[in-house]
């Protein structure tokens, strides 16, 4: 999209008073998560969680869920946090805070579908980062989690148009950004960028949000863009998409984003992609559990 149309979109989005605000909890958490896991003070986390009855209850519920099988009944928040591990607690916190970014009655895409996809992409993206040896796996996680926030913006600023775009995508079984471009003239990538800029997220995350579908040729942005792009595709192909069938065939090893990453991280060429794909189905279960924990109130 041209600078001009983008500027127009920006003023349209930022002028409305219902623009999603960055969840308060996100900022300190983002800072806190910069520390290596060993340094995280578990007592402090338990204390923080205990202030929020909903989250505390969710931690306990999730620790008792089928995913963890036949553990003894968990009752205290502390045991729950210990059993879940820091990553899952963090997943819970994030999904909770982000699920409140827009009011419950404003969702156009089913919120559980949206969070399943976002969390799925976050997990896969972090896994990618680990495999590649990309130094900042947490950033990769966050990029995955936030990549589709434009969908939330669209639900707020252009609900009717976006509803039409989403139902066109579902009906014609085409990619969402394609349907958006056809019906609205902009995509959730464009509006996601506007929101991300307003939230003053770091530039590489903004790029991942803006370019995750149309990564450019040659690839614009950095590895983060390519990782989010591929993780998004993988999730859509492994049951963590937008809830409708997308008839498509993807040849990952010859995909532009993949080739770009192979150039930067040659070890990717040795990845057993089939096996990697099979392991993703393990995530689907995990994500399912998490999302249903957050959304059954």
């Amino acid at each position: 999209m041209t600078m001009e149309t983008f500027d127009r979109l920006r003023s349209r989005i930022t002028s409305i008073d219902s623009m999603p605000t960055i969840p308060v909890i996100l900022r300190p958490l983002l800072r806190c998560l910069d520390q290596p896991v060993e340094q995280i003070d578990i007592t402090r986390i338990v204390e923080l969680i205990s202030y929020d009855k909903t989250i505390a209850a969710q931690c306990v519920r999730m620790a008792n869920s089928a995913l963890f099988g036949r553990h003894k009944q968990v009752e205290s928040v502390r045991t729950a946090v210990m059993n879940l591990g820091m990553w899952r607690v963090r997943d819970l916190l994030f999904s909770n805070s982000l699920s409140q970014v827009i009011p419950a009655n404003r969702w156009i895409v089913d919120p559980t579908v949206f969070w399943r996809h976002s969390l799925g992409v976050a997990l896969v993206c972090r896994k990618f980062a680990e495999i590649l040896g990309y130094p900042d796996t947490e950033k990769a996680y966050l990029a995955g989690l936030l990549h589709d926030i434009g969908i939330l913006v669209n639900s707020m600023v252009a609900p009717e148009e976006f509803r039409a775009a989403f139902s066109k995508a579902t009906r014609e079984q085409i990619a969402l950004d394609e349907a958006e471009r056809a019906t609205m003239g902009f995509t959730h990538c464009d509006s996601g960028r506007v929101l991300a800029e307003a939230w003053k997220i770091t530039p590489d995350l903004i790029q991942a949000i803006e370019l995750h579908h149309d990564i450019g040729d040659p690839v614009r942005g950095g590895p983060l863009v390519a990782m989010v792009h591929l993780s998004d595709l993988l999730c859509r192909l492994r049951g963590l998409g937008y809830g409708y069938y997308e008839p498509r065939q993807v040849d990952f090893a010859n995909e532009r984003g993949w080739l770009y990453l192979v150039m930067q991280f040659p070890n990717l060429a040795d990845l057993d992609l089939a096996r990697f794909t099979f392991t993703l189905d393990e995530y689907a279960k995990e994500v399912e559990e998490l999302v249903s924990t957050v959304f059954t109130r």
Partner: protein
């Protein structure tokens, strides 16, 4: 109270009964030998199957059983037994819906598009290692359906082969119990089956599409005759072959396929380490191997 660092460091802890790291090693071993991958959320199945074999050989712990698979003199035979156990009773009609959907919504349309340009309106399938015919008839029903919709006037041919004559005979009979047809969509069941007592008999309109014959895939001279195929299915068969025979068989498949043709393995099987001639392609919920125009080296392998 000291923090249990393993809890913090270990991201995703599975269920206690399945946490024994030996299961992961057995899983990896099976994958290495057969290309079949058991995802962690399916470990309970793996454990159940191993338990059957553990009872049979009299080993009490997974650790000990791993020895049976790796150290004991007849470890290869035991691996075969385990693989048998893993694939047992798996087969049914419409076993993998994602595979069926990929075929209907992506593979067939894209093959048809290429062929239409050449004014060639025929598609040929090969179900290799077809066992008792479930997969072959599933294919036939899907193609019949397409021939009434998107592919009017096209012809189809399904070759179904197996080593085992008894299986072939059973396949030709085409009678299945209700467990074998449990996944068949209701409208297909109505159209393409007739009730035979408590069983289901494949309808006469489906049968002529499939030709069953005995074929040993390790018989090179026979394999060389298979040519001009558009889609090959070979599910849960290569697992029994050693590395060399696998490569040889897969090469035969490659030559048997037309350019742009597809090769499907079982749901969680892979060709990793067997050949790089094919491209691994992803469909929603399914993967397949695709024969490109020219053999292309995998990205990055210079």
């Amino acid at each position: 109270m000291p923090i249990d660092s393993t809890v913090l460091a270990n991201e995703r802890v599975p269920v206690d009964a399945l946490t024994d790291p030996v299961w992961t090693r057995i899983r990896d071993l099976i994958y290495q030998v057969s290309g079949i991958y058991q995802a962690e959320n399916k470990f309970h199945l793996l454990v159940r199957r191993c338990n059957v074999r553990m009872k049979a050989v009299g080993s009490r712990t997974p650790r000990e059983y791993l020895d049976f698979l790796t150290e004991r003199p007849n470890r290869d035979a035991e691996m075969r037994n385990l693989l048998n156990e893993i694939t047992i009773g798996e087969t049914c009609l419409f076993r993998s819906m994602p595979q069926v959907e990929a075929l209907r919504k992506v593979v067939i349309p894209s093959l048809a598009e290429v062929k239409r340009k050449l004014s060639y309106t025929k598609l040929r399938f090969w179900s290799a290692g077809c066992s008792t015919g479930e997969e072959s008839y599933t294919l036939a029903m899907i193609m019949l359906e397409e021939s009434q919709k998107t592919l009017k006037g096209w012809t189809f041919e399904i070759m179904a082969t197996d080593l085992n004559e008894r299986s072939i005979a059973k396949a030709q009979e085409g009678i299945y119990n209700d467990y074998a047809v449990r996944n068949v969509p209701p409208d297909f069941k109505k159209k393409y089956f007739t009730q035979a007592g408590s069983n289901f008999r494949v309808a006469d309109c489906v049968r002529p599409l499939v030709t069953f014959s005995r074929l040993n895939m390790l018989d090179d001279s026979k394999m060389l005759f298979m040519r001009g195929i558009d889609v090959i299915f070979c599910c849960n068969v290569l697992i029994y072959f050693d590395g060399k025979s696998k490569t040889r068989t897969v090469n035969h498949f490659y030559n048997a396929l037309m350019t742009n043709g597809y090769f499907f393995l079982g749901q969680s099987e892979s060709l990793y380490g067997i050949t790089e001639k094919f491209h691994l392609v992803h469909f929603p919920g399914a993967t397949a191997y695709w024969k490109p125009n020219e053999p292309v080296l995998k990205a990055g392998s210079a």
